[in-house]
Amino acid sequence: MNALLISPIIIPLLAALLALLAWHWRQVQRLIALAATSVHLVCGASLLSAVAEHGIQSTQMGNWPAPFGITIVADQFSAIMVFLAGFMGLAVVCYSIASIDRGRESFGYYPFLLILLMGVCGAFLTGDLFNLYVWFEVMLMASFVLLALGGGRDQMEGAIKYVTLNLVSSAFFLAGAGILYGLAGTLNMADLAVKLRSTTQYELVTAVGMLFFIAFGIKAAAFPLFFWLPASYHTPPVAISAIFSGLLTKVGVYSLIRTFTLLFAGDAGYTHNLILVIAGLTMVTGVLGAVAQYDFRRLLAFHIVSQIGYLLMGLGLLTAAALAGAVYFMIHVIISKAALFLVSGIVYRYAGSYDLKKLGGFSESHPWLAILFIIPALSLAGIPPLSGFFAKLALIQAGLQIEQYAIVAAALAVSILTLFSMTKIWAEVFWKEPPDASKSDTPRGAPAPLAAALLFGPIALMAAVIVIIGIGAESVFALAARAAEQLMDPAEYVQAVLGARP
């Protein structure tokens, strides 16, 4: 059991080291990355089934008993996230092999991608607040390098903004962790959950909670701290944008959900109503930002922000049904969003531009690509029977149950605007007559069969998953409901980490 729990951290680490040793052999690095992410996915799947079958799993690093050592713990939510990280890792490595240029590959693209995966999985699995900070830094360092690798003007400028905002966020996180340690004398999350519930200093705990809310809010790109995301996510190659959009902001949301169900749930009337307001504003500003955009990837980047709002809505409502909706939404949005980014990369490959005004005619010239676009796009807007519909339905039902009509209205309105945005891309890129070929940059011909399989394969798989978890929503939703149940009642989590102690 022990090995399975830490495997999502160890496998990418070992693979990254091996890939560094194979610095001069790009083919070997590709194979290592492919093999490692495949094994990672299998481990994620077995962790998911182990947790579903036997409940929350935990292990103590270095065999130090629980509040003293570092605990690695996987509840249903963590296991789902680790599995998704494995899935995204494999998909993006496949896509990268066919799309990342030689220069980036020779300067450590794959090792950093693997380290990024390690950091992300570490953040999902750790049961210790300071350890979470360390995993955040591991993940950020890898993402800094991936973002800046290549060194064009856009990338450098995007990286400056991204690095600055994330360092500020880390400083807030560190300050919060320090004060919390001074308050409770522990940083083990299960131990903190017990101690914070019996504390008398509610105001101080809420204040520290707000520090964490700012720190994770920056990473999750929540209103009003989202502006670094549309300024940086469209600058690197599209494979990197895809994995960033799929995993990085979601780690922020994961941490918010984890801390605000486990640690800072004591003053829910104040904190979670604030989260709800922020959720609504995040949704609305994100989607309004997207409406104004005419760059394929910038438009998608603003939609990342808007979708974060839905995830926060699930947390803000703080009922089992709402959290189940948020977990299901997380599964849906990670896959849909990444698929859309990957499609934009293929469009760029054919037409040499991300500018919607310069694109056109893709439904005739590349009908398969049109189908691969329309499935995640409609899913993102929430059209049945795709995954996005059930995700939004669950959140909206949860909102109606506890009579939070304002956020429900916002969620519905934003859905319509999302549909409008997706229709805009559809009309501009796929339906419109292609503009003069002479105006566009250098278009490239069709990729070789193997490259085409590596480019289209991941997107086709993601589109299939979107349809399958839409049609078979019930079984996925049961998993999400189980995760939400564990999040709502921390007793099981505490029991799994601290053992039989009261």
Binding site: G151, L167, L174, G178, I179, Y181
Partner: protein, 115 residues
């Protein structure tokens, strides 16, 4: 001692945010350094100060005699310093490369990604 440190932490935070709001990219980096240091000192202060009793167990004992300084915050700070050092090294190279690419150190000129 705590009030003095509390004031120092406050001054460090203020200086850090002041520098980060300036237009020069070098001052931005100095601001980030101060911000990290302010957070480290905050951890140190918030965890409580115990003077003159290091966390050592006498040779013939199994537990320390009397109250001792808590070693954990210092371990946390040490980790944070090391991480901060790595990140800072990266940030300085990034700033230098940005300066080479864009030819300016004025943050107001770095707007290519906002258009």
């Amino acid at each position: 001692m705590e009030p003095v440190l509390a004031i120092v932490v406050g001054v460090l935070y203020a200086a850090a945010f002041y520098l980060m709001l300036r237009r020069s990219i070098v001052k931005l980096i100095i601001g980030l350094v101060l911000l990290g240091n302010a957070a480290n000192l905050l951890i140190f202060t918030a965890a409580g100060l115990t003077r003159g009793s290091p966390p050592l167990v006498p040779l013939d004992q199994t537990r320390p005699l009397g109250p001792i300084a808590d070693p954990l915050p210092q371990a946390l700070i040490l980790t944070a310093i090391v991480i901060g050092f790595g990140v800072l090294a990266f940030a300085m190279v990034l700033v230098y490369r940005t300066y080479q690419t864009t030819g300016t150190d004025d943050i107001d000129q770095i707007t290519a990604t906002d258009k």
